[in-house]
């Protein structure tokens, strides 16, 4: 930290307890679930919702809400880390893993090494496919046993907990594969292209 004077007696409510090796550098544990959005909460009714995989303008596959519910569902428990320094441990989600999406779409391999997530409201984030396969990424629809609230990204959000949580794009609707790692909403405006909390890759230039 710079030379800010210490505020006598000020303690962060977010103590790291003895979870030292579960909390990435610079992060603090929180028990609540702060909301951060780049725009107003979209309200998309389930009968208007669809989820799509695309590549180079071609539709690879698409699912309605009920079709999506019929895909293999996986329960995921993971710690999540926001670039604004809060971490939350043992969060429980349910959804469809990226691997299962590829399988359902009949893709033996992803058609390109990167993808852009596109969301209701216009938010985007880029990811390397390597950061999604092998169970690392999913599209989730339930949190803590209930449908994800709109303000937390419902009906469906991307879930990539090993990266900073801005990559777990809320209100995700489409994953578009791309040949190059084009930066998304935050990555094109100061944030790190990948965002690994264990390497403290918060900003472009870290």
């Amino acid at each position: 930290m710079n030379d800010s004077p210490i505020s006598r007696g000020f303690r962060s409510p977010r103590q790291t307890d003895n979870l030292g090796n579960r909390i990435p550098p610079g992060q603090y544990l929180t028990r609540d679930f702060p909301v951060l959005s780049a725009g107003p909460t979209p309200h998309r009714s389930l009968d208007q919702w669809s989820f799509t995989l695309g590549y180079d303008g071609t539709l690879l596959d698409s699912w309605t809400w009920s079709q999506f519910q019929d895909l293999p569902q996986t329960n995921i428990t993971a710690d999540i880390h926001c670039v604004t320094k809060w971490s939350k441990i043992d969060t429980m989600w349910q959804g469809v893993t990226f691997d299962d999406l590829l399988r359902a779409a009949g893709l033996r391999a992803p058609p390109a090494p990167y993808l852009m997530a596109h969301c209701d409201g216009g938010y985007t984030t880029n990811l390397a496919v390597d950061d999604l396969v092998g169970g690392k990424g999913a599209v989730v629809t339930r949190y803590a046993g209930a449908p994800i609230e709109p303000v937390h990204g419902g009906p469906a959000r991307l879930f990539v907990p090993h990266l900073y949580f801005w990559k777990s794009a809320k209100w995700v609707r489409r994953l578009s594969f791309m040949e190059t790692n084009k930066p998304g909403f935050w990555e094109s405006n100061g944030y790190h292209i990948r965002g690994d909390p264990w390497k403290e890759e918060r900003y472009d230039g870290d």
């Binding site: 930290m1 800010s4 505020s7 006598r8 007696g9 000020f10 962060s12 977010r14 609540d32 320094k85």
Partner: protein, 252 residues
């Protein structure tokens, strides 16, 4: 209409504020009066950012309106204690005279009124939204100005009226200043004033007529600001004459 004076030219740097006095305004509200060496002054309506740093390097930052007028050497920040907050409980429960925290400002050139802007001026505040409006009223009084002015202040109860005695005294001293309180949750026996949330009819009663070209300032929780500003427009006030500052969903 738009006051786009150049910014002070001085980059907003963090400075050290020393607590000189702490005043209890209401059961949940305190005013912290601080001294900042080298403070360059401010305009009524502006705010500051404050920053706290814990021993392990954790930092928390919040914004508070300056409640004191530029005529005062010390800066007054009126803060509501938010129960599960990070910063306000520390300020309320732990901060003592002589303690220091970082502060930067003044910030914001939009939500500003000075006597140079003239009147009539109408100020509409909800809860802690009255703080920047108080800076404007205190400035007006310190300059011994008599632009026609009105404050419509919405509070849940008498006990929660911030600056209650000072506002009564100000109005008592100045026939050109009207202060109207509406108590939305609890009214004392024999309360002759308004006892409901601000609505269009109330504003029609108390506001300066649009033909007098008043400047309007609305501050408080976001839903409060949105509805009051909308009513003013519906009553015929020029939207450009209405300045707003939203404190967030609950005001805090």
């Amino acid at each position: 209409m738009i006051d786009a004076r150049p910014a002070s030219g001085r980059r907003l740097e963090w400075q050290v504020a020393v607590v000189c006095d702490i005043a209890v305004e209401t059961p949940r509200v305190k005013t912290f009066v601080v001294r900042v060496d080298g403070w360059q002054g401010h305009s009524p309506g502006q705010h500051v950012d404050i920053r706290l740093t814990s021993e392990d390097g954790y930092q928390a930052q919040r914004s508070y309106s300056i409640a004191s007028p530029p005529e005062d050497e010390l800066i007054a920040l009126t803060v509501v204690c938010v129960d599960d907050g990070e910063v306000s409980p520390y300020l309320h429960r732990d901060l003592r005279r002589g303690d220091k925290f970082e502060l930067r400002g003044p910030i914001g050139g939009y939500f500003v009124w000075t006597t140079a802007a003239g009147g009539p001026v109408q100020l509409i505040g909800g809860g802690s939204g009255v703080a920047p409006l108080m800076a404007m009223l205190r400035h007006r009084e310190r300059r011994d100005h008599h632009e026609r002015a009105m404050l419509l202040y919405s509070s849940r109860s008498v006990e929660e009226i911030i600056y209650r005695e000072e506002l009564a005294a100000m109005a008592g001293r100045d026939p050109d200043l009207r202060i109207i309180i509406t108590l939305t949750s609890q009214q004392p026996e024999r309360w002759a004033g308004y006892g409901r949330r601000i609505d269009k009819a109330m504003l029609a009663d108390v506001c300066f007529p649009p033909e007098t070209n008043p400047r309007s300032y609305v501050c408080g929780p976001t839903p409060f600001v949105e509805s009051a500003a909308q009513f003013l427009v519906e009553l015929g006030h020029d939207p450009l004459s209405i300045k707003t500052e939203r404190f967030g969903p609950t005001g805090g």
